[in-house]
Amino acid sequence: MMAVRSAALRPAARTSWLERLNQEVLLTGFLVILVAILTAVRPDFLSKQSVASMLLDSSHLIVAAVGMTLVIVAGGIDISVGSMLAMCAVVGGILARDGTPPELAMLAIVLTGTVLGFVNGALVIWGGIPSIIVSLGMLSILRGGVVLLTGGSWIQHLPEGFYIGQRAVLGIPVPILTAVIVLTLAALWMRYSPLGRQVYAVGANRDAARLTGINVKGIQLMTFVINGTLVGLAALIFATRFSAIQTNAGVGFELQVITAAVVGGVSILGGAGTVLGAALGGLLLNVIGKGMIFLRVSAYWLLAVQGALILLAVVVDIWRKRRLGEL
């Protein structure tokens, strides 16, 4: 903690290859190699249909991973996003089923996420409860709530206008378009806006951020609210892709989202990482999952692979920081 964090204060001679290798470049390279190998073994891996389904399956993960990036960069964590996704989808589904206009029901999906994100954030900021405890509790509260709301049965036969996830604009499916827009806006906002920079400042050094006059608690609350809203958006483009909303939607989703972020170079210690990295991490996760199916590896191993990826990414991150003298 005492070590100098800023690279600018270090002599130029000490800039090592470690510093120049950023996670986005590394991940892109790894993705390309992986796709090349998979295509060599199974040429149909890069078929139009296969690529389209991979992008479609990654879209809600990428939207949620953008939100998770904000939360983790600011120094928190949210492991309730899987249950949150289900709760958002179910609230919207029930409203649509009971005759609410589809547009309002879709808006309700996103706003439910905003409210739930605010609740998590408020409990952390004003309750003084660590985010891991808040979100561990919310993980089961919301999952139980979903089952109670639906009675455990699927929500089906919704009005035609509700299924926005099945539509396309200019030939691009709405989920993919949404992911691209969210990613672009978030990447620009995190990099260039004062608020975006403050998120990094809060995560890198809380006390220093406070002393520079940054509203630390406000920023942190904001990350939770944005995260909730984006989980709501993810729920919107995910739940409207299929004809039924299931109560076990999003079980284990939190692990995918956190894997995407952490593998994408978002530091679990806070203060570092980009949404682009997180999106690449999400894409990688789906390529690996699809690759396992193409190579006929039992899907039962997927969870173990996912966990190993998280651990590997975190260990490499910490090792790199230690080599650079930041830890």
Partner: protein, 325 residues
């Protein structure tokens, strides 16, 4: 901080600790529950409850130590599931004798715990993300190794751990009592126990005082894994089948029991006695709610809320820092 408080409120606050509040809450719960259902306050029901909750209890003991050091172990439920699967695989697929399969199961838990401990203590990865990753890895091992196939048909003598009795008491209840005493005395009465508190209060200071921080952390996480293995043996013996999804979500009950018992999530404070009170409270809550006809899904909602409220109250009572993240 106590200096600024009026003397009268100091004496008042002395009795307002988590354990006393919990004892009172327990009394209220017992009164309400025995009103709600006449089946509740019978020795048959209560003893049966100890069967259901011994597994959570066995994992809550090491979890108390883990949380006192300022860490957390989210992976216990997965280590539990993996150990259970290994018991089934060793006996049903490899054809090992059952006693050896039990050994394999305990060993699996130990390996899982040692791995956590190694990553946390040596590589210094935060426990939260370490055990979140191994939560996925160990559950993935359970699914991958078993390929989702359950194993059942264990011999009758194996039922002794989960369904047998020693005198009037269920076997696993006796096991839990003995281990509670051992761990409780270890924590409260040995230098090693004091070291654990020291690490939780200030790991840096502990290291400079010559406390072998890394070795203690490694042992505690290893112990947590081993106990998850032991709990899984009891579980398999109780339900007589091993499935890869055994114990999913159990970490919630375990962690809730510990923090409800007053162990500070920030580390440095907590007792085994508190954890046992927390465990009993959660057990009674679950039992009472199900006797009152509340469905399992609502129970999960209640336990989740209890977890959050417990940490909040805990912090208020101690006047701890509010700068959470």
């Amino acid at each position: 901080m106590t200096l600024s408080r009026a003397p009268t409120s100091v004496t008042w606050r002395r009795y307002l600790n988590q354990e006393n509040i919990l004892l009172l809450t327990l009394l209220v719960i017992i009164l309400v529950l025995s009103r709600l259902s006449d089946r509740f306050f019978t020795s048959a029901n209560l003893l049966n409850q100890t069967r259901l909750f011994a597994e959570v209890g066995l994992m809550a003991l090491p979890m108390t130590l883990v949380i006192i050091t300022g860490g957390i172990d989210l992976s216990v439920s997965s280590a539990f599931g993996w150990s259970a699967v290994m018991l089934g695989v060793a006996w049903g697929v490899w054809g090992l004798p059952l006693w050896a399969a039990i050994g394999v199961s305990l060993f699996t838990g130990l390996v899982g715990g040692l791995f956590n401990g190694w990553i946390v203590a040596r590589i210094k990865v935060p426990p939260l993300i370490t055990t979140l990753a191994t939560l996925a890895i160990y559950r993935g091992m359970a699914y991958g190794i078993s390929q989702g196939k359950p194993v059942s048909g264990y011999p009758d003598w194996f039922e002794v751990f989960g369904q047998g009795s020693i005198g009037p008491l269920p076997t696993q209840f006796v096991l839990l009592i003995v281990l509670t005493l051992v761990v409780g005395l270890f924590l409260a009465r040995t230098p090693w126990g004091r070291f654990i508190y020291a690490i939780g209060s200030n790991a840096e200071a502990a290291r400079f005082s010559g406390i072998p921080v890394q070795r203690i952390l490694l042992s505690i996480y290893a112990f947590s894994g081993l106990m998850a293995g032991l709990a899984s043996v009891v579980f398999v013996s109780r339900v007589t089948t091993t499935r890869a999804d055994a114990g999913i979500g159990l970490e919630l009950d375990v962690i809730a029991a510990v923090v409800l018992g007053g162990t500070s999530i920030y580390g440095g404070k907590g007792t085994i006695f508190g954890t046992i009170l927390g465990l009993v409270t959660i057990a009674l809550l679950r039992n009472g709610l199900s006797l009152a006809g509340v469905k399992g899904d609502a129970t999960v909602v209640v336990i989740g809320a209890v977890l959050i409220v417990a940490v909040f109250v805990n912090r208020l009572l101690r006047g701890e820092k509010s700068d959470a993240r």
